[in-house]
Amino acid sequence: QRIEIQKLRQGENLILGFSIGGGIDQDPGQNPFSEDKSDKGIYVTRITPGGPAEDADLRIGDKIMQVNGWDMTMVTHDQARKKLTKKNEDVVRLLITRKSLEEA
């Protein structure tokens, strides 16, 4: 569990360079990254190459636990998206967990 700091690079909009999936309003069984298929957390499903997420060493399959202090384990998909794309923030701090970290 590490804290990663990402920069919002502004092309025109603030982009972080990854895609998220999951949420309490979604179907957890279809999540390919979760071990426990009833886990409704937010997972990183894709990372755009060369984006700020990749630079900050975010990996596909990471589960996002907190965003800037906001808890992400019990939010809907839309709420998570909003928390991540707040316009007035440059830096987004994420608390993530990953399977390899748990084993370590």
Partner: protein
């Protein structure tokens, strides 16, 4: 103790009428059938020994011994069979005579008893009504209106009873069965007892005392007719309705080629179940074709030939018997190794046969289609052709038959069906198809696939004589796991029965408003 009951039914379809079945066999007939059984047991067991000499004695030992052994074996085999045949023959002849005499006797006896009982039953109420008028007319009270109304009811009830008995019992018998129907005997006895008791009461109380109350007598007669109608209802339930509800599932397998069918039967006695199965057999099972079994028989003969190479010195020689046993085991092992080629042969032979059949079938279909195009149904509006051109169906069939005859015959020969269809029957079938506007495909259907036995001519029905072989008594009911055999001349049907399981069904109610759905997504948004 095994009671094997075998009885060759010599009856044709005009067997014992069902009316005659209402009444029982005399005890001497039952006794006779039991004595027949013991004799038939003896005649059946003699058949088995000839198998052993064939395996045991035939040997190719030495040159000088060879011919003798060969001679011995042939005489041994025919010797035992001749012996058994001669004994069997006598037994069979006497059984035949006795059977035919016995059967006719049985039929006449049962029929006459049935008729007598029927007349007795029918005329009893009338006698009850008429006798007072004959015997003591002066003392009799006159019949009032209520009494005369009862006359009408008696008349109609007797009419209904007559019609009902005719409908239930006087149907042409389908078959002759080895033993009697237990239920029919029970009913006959019941009816007899009933009528006798009524007559006793009548004679003691009414005739002796010469009762004047005619209305009472008429009511008594009406009660008799009512009771007879109720007994008839009981007969309907016991004989017809009870076995309608399916209770057992029977599996019928033909011993020669393994054709299997399953049927659902109700609670029947074994002989009635056998009769129902035979009737299903005639319409469901494809015809028994002995020509198709020759291939497997020749393979079996080849195996047997491979095994025959060992010596048996003779009976009573223990050492050589021991040697023979060890030798035979070695021989069997060698034969097992040798068997590797036969499955290969079978595979290629079957593939070749399949190809040949398909080729001939294609030629046949084309030939028949072409032949059918030569014929056209004459329309009425066409100008009348010369009478020489106009043909009736039979002539038309004969006209187009030659063009397809060769292809058809070759196909039948390849599928080994040529003995089932004579030229006459083919032409008849062709005329039939032409008359009823059947397409060539419909015409061919009866030749391409073997149909049920009844489809072929009467000479192919292979005997309407069936032998029922069962360990349990044939009048006992079907049980779970009962097995019996139905033997015909060429083959036998093995029947096993299983009880249909008890079904426990429960109910679950679904509210039609409860069909609601939610959307479950796994969406991905990029941030």
């Amino acid at each position: 103790m095994d009671t094997e009951s075998t009885y060759s039914g010599y009856s044709h379809y005009s067997g014992r009428s069902r009316g005659s079945h209402r009444h029982g066999e005399r005890s001497r007939d039952r006794h006779k059938s039991r004595s027949k059984d013991s004799r038939s047991e003896k005649s059946v067991t003699i058949n088995t020994p000839p198998a052993e000499p064939l395996l045991g004695d035939s040997s190719l030992r030495g040159e000088q011994v060879q011919d003798d052994n060969w001679g011995e074996t042939t005489t041994a085999v025919t010797g035992t069979s001749e012996h058994s045949l001669s004994q069997e023959d006598i037994v069979r002849i006497t059984k035949d005579l006795e059977d035919s005499v016995g059967l006719d006797c049985r039929r006449y006896v049962t029929r006459s008893v049935a008729v007598i009982l029927g007349l007795l039953v029918f005329f009893t109420p009338l006698a009850f009504l008429v006798l007072p008028h004959i015997l003591w007319p002066e003392k009799l009270q006159s019949c009032g209106t209520a009494c005369e109304g009862l006359f009408i009811s008696v008349a109609f009830k007797l009419l209904i009873l007559l019609l009902a008995v005719w409908a239930l019992f006087f149907r042409p018998a389908r078959a002759g069965l080895p033993r009697v129907f237990v239920f029919r005997i029970l009913l006959a006895v019941l009816v007899l007892l009933f009528v006798i008791s009524y007559w006793l009461f009548y004679s003691v109380r009414i005739l002796d005392s010469q009762d004047e109350n005619y209305q009472g007598i008429v009511q008594y007669a009406v009660s008799l007719v009512d009771a007879l109608l109720f007994i008839h209802y009981l007969a309907v339930v016991l004989l017809e309705l009870r076995q309608l509800q399916p209770c057992f599932s029977v599996c019928v397998t033909r011993a020669t080629d393994g054709e299997t069918r399953h049927y659902n039967l109700g609670q029947l006695s074994i002989q009635r179940a056998a009769l129902a199965i035979i009737e299903h057999y005639y319409c469901d099972f494809p015809i028994h074709n002995p020509a198709l079994l020759s291939a497997s028989k020749s393979r079996a003969a080849k195996h047997l030939a491979g095994l025959k190479v060992y010596n048996v010195d003779g009976p009573g020689n223990n050492a050589s018997a021991g040697i023979a046993q060890s030798q035979s085991r070695a021989m069997i092992a060698a034969a097992a190794r040798r068997r590797d080629t036969s499955h290969n042969e079978l595979y290629y032979e079957e593939a070749e046969h399949e190809r040949r059949v398909r080729k001939r079938r294609a030629r046949l279909v084309v030939a028949v289609e072409e032949a059918f195009t030569h014929i056209k149904r004459m329309q009425e509006e066409e100008p009348k052709k010369a009478p020489g051109d106009v043909m009736d169906p039979r002539e038309a069939a004969q006209a187009i038959f030659p063009s397809m005859a060769r292809a058809l015959q070759k196909y039948l020969r390849t599928t080994k069906q040529q003995h089932c269809h004579s030229m006459e029957s083919i032409q008849q079938h062709l005329a039939f198809c032409i008359t009823n506007n059947l397409t060539p495909k419909a015409f061919l259907e009866s030749y391409l696939s073997p149909g049920p036995t009844l489809q072929y001519g009467k000479d192919h029905w292979l005997g309407r004589r069936w032998t029922l072989i069962s360990e349990a008594s044939v009048t006992s009911g079907l049980k779970d796991g009962s097995v019996f055999l139905l033997k015909c001349v060429d083959f036998s049907l093995v029947v096993t029965s299983r009880k249909i399981p008890y079904v426990q069904m429960s109910e679950e109610y679904i509210d039609p408003k409860s069909h609601k759905f939610v959307l479950r997504l796994q969406s991905e948004t990029s941030v």
